[in-house]
Symmetry: C3
Subunit: 322 residues, 3 copies
Amino acid sequence: MNYISLKNIDSLEKWVKQALKIKKKPLKNKKLGKNKTLGMLFFNPSLRTRLSTQKAALNLGMNVMVMNFTNEGWTLEFEDGAVMNQGASEHIKEAAEVVSQYCDIIAVRAFAGLVDKEKDNAETVLAGFLKHATVPIVNMEGCTGHPLQALADAITMAEHKTEHKPKVVLSWAPHPRALPQAVANSFVEMMLLQDADFVITHPEGYELNPEITKGATIEHDQNKAFENADFIYTKNWSNYIDYGKITNSDPSWTVTAEKMALTNNAKFMHCLPVRRNVIVADEVIDSENSIVIEQANNRTYAAQLVLQKILENAQEKTHYSS
Amino acid sequence: MNYISLKNIDSLEKWVKQALKIKKKPLKNKKLGKNKTLGMLFFNPSLRTRLSTQKAALNLGMNVMVMNFTNEGWTLEFEDGAVMNQGASEHIKEAAEVVSQYCDIIAVRAFAGLVDKEKDNAETVLAGFLKHATVPIVNMEGCTGHPLQALADAITMAEHKTEHKPKVVLSWAPHPRALPQAVANSFVEMMLLQDADFVITHPEGYELNPEITKGATIEHDQNKAFENADFIYTKNWSNYIDYGKITNSDPSWTVTAEKMALTNNAKFMHCLPVRRNVIVADEVIDSENSIVIEQANNRTYAAQLVLQKILENAQEKTHYSS
Amino acid sequence: MNYISLKNIDSLEKWVKQALKIKKKPLKNKKLGKNKTLGMLFFNPSLRTRLSTQKAALNLGMNVMVMNFTNEGWTLEFEDGAVMNQGASEHIKEAAEVVSQYCDIIAVRAFAGLVDKEKDNAETVLAGFLKHATVPIVNMEGCTGHPLQALADAITMAEHKTEHKPKVVLSWAPHPRALPQAVANSFVEMMLLQDADFVITHPEGYELNPEITKGATIEHDQNKAFENADFIYTKNWSNYIDYGKITNSDPSWTVTAEKMALTNNAKFMHCLPVRRNVIVADEVIDSENSIVIEQANNRTYAAQLVLQKILENAQEKTHYSS
């Protein structure tokens, strides 16, 4: 069992319930991970993912080995058949097979480069580990998705929803740097697994990958989208069509108190880190309706659920084979 | 309970005795930290602090998560109300609140920039964590103090003092690079909590922050200061008045055997790392009277005492509330 | 007891047998390392060594503290009597003595600079730790040797050999960057401890240190060397005579299927990371005869044997002295 995308979730409703149980007694399964090792490989910076995933593993009694691949290890080659007389010192084939021998689970973070759409969509790094590793792989944010974040978001929404079928809005917001679409993609995929009135709002031209948003409502008028919303999830992403470019930085898309007033007293969500007064005004993120800190807290339980499922799955296999 | 400065010590004498008890049986409280997590956040390099604090936590049975914030995480914004359209990706408010959810104690190292005196005196990073974190904060060297070092120094002096009221000299020494005043400040604050004949010696113009040295004797003649001393604590600091500048590099301030001969067979102390034959001559640091290695050893027990007090304090609170 | 070079092995045959026992039950000695701490200090990048040594320590129940010395700590001075008014902030004397107080074993990786042969041969960093540390030192690859790799290689060969006295060939291969001789040196030293028909093959002028290869057969015709070989161990090294230079990059030395056909169905070995289609053709490293992944796996058990021996040795000493 791997956890690469939302597609690896058999029942989101069930997973959310299980995660909330873990949250109540996070140390209940402290023996499950005994003598098991999680390898965390970072190709990009990380705060929440780094600490919450590590904490989740510790809660399960696992050992953790953390490695910043880029400066602590070797540059990797991902192409089959490459003549490796250039920069890369090691092929993913060896790296993944070797690390699999030291770890029971490998978690990988590798952001989009935002230069070559095809390459990013191919998820070179994650796909390489997935192909060559002999142990389960967990996605700690790839080029096109951040499924641990989306799972934490689902847990957080379950804790805060009052309506059976809430109105949930994913709203683009401006940002000074070009950011990946990963968080937005996984949030969309997660929402499409739920019974909700789900609307995506962004400036024209900022459409996400249509294969991902298929079935979602898209509304270019942010104010209209916000009407009667129960949850506002804000996130910047760079242009997917004019790939990786910033073609809009319209400050009128910043989420302000005035905009939140259009909603049904909506909760405000963001995956963090967030640029204050660019993505969202202080007055909103500091308000009682902001649940961004709780979202980050739930990262631990999302990761713990995933690790627990993988460990249980491995245990079952061992049981059947013995 | 936090450990930010010497002001957090209620009785230095008591603390030193407790630390010496811990040193005798460092594993006695191995259960106290069970399932508790120390987060160590570094904004600057560290050898002794990194390893000794980690070791202290391990001795208490804690989990440790170490993070080099600068290159592994996000650049932080510390100003309230900032429009974050520049370099910083995350506000200290979110960072501190979020990390508080993964850790039971947060330890932070953030050196002085030595450019803006007011900003350094405000301890931007530490103050930010202190304000926004919801768990205890430990200072692993801030801009203006290094209280774990000073506590280790007090422990080391208690082990080596023969006089009831020893003469202790803090002596400035030259250094090729501009260094913070943090270690010197905390040493002064620590000495002022003790019954000692305490003298600070430095070239004219190298006065430390007068708010810190108030009550201490200052002597600009190094030789005179050394007379009959029982402990010589050497440390460079850059100019506090002409802030962060090196306005003196007089090699005659280097601590030599000739100077040590003026003392009452004094012990030689330094916090390390030390520039040999610049701060101190080999003949002194390599002599039997040098206790710099034991100072570094006591860093573990100083940190362990602080962590233990914080854990016990948290336990008591839980006890009262249940 | 230290593990610095193959010279620290009293009986390679015995060690290999012990390592293979550990491999069968890696958690059998989980209590041996309880409350013991391994400090791993890296002056260079590392993947296999970093993770396998850490894994080995965890299998023994040890605590591990990992530190990238270059960017997380201070620049070290190694020269006795140096006036430290230049780049280095700390002398190895203090660094090694201090770290010894926090760790029960110190493991060090410090590659050859490949500029100054004499300095590299002096193993400045390792020798510094060896001289000044007060706890056992493990070599995680120095300038002139990589004895943990060679031990893993011996284990792997023992698992795969069918002949009592196999023919083993160490073959140079081209590489775009100048690499140290460390792995080759230790492999040679290891082979000379065994009863084998051992041949080194490399282009003329690429002789390794003759003090190390004394007693080994050298054959400049690679094809001839490969004839009837049972094991082909490939590795690039830069020129030892014209020190640190690349004076040959002849692609005809790449190990291909055609060359392997000359052998007695030989196993293919390499320490990794390996440049595919430069050092070795895909067809060879991807063949059934390639045992490079198993070599990397055995790094864990090589490290675990070394750590176990050091811990047992320390235990005995304590026993005798009590």
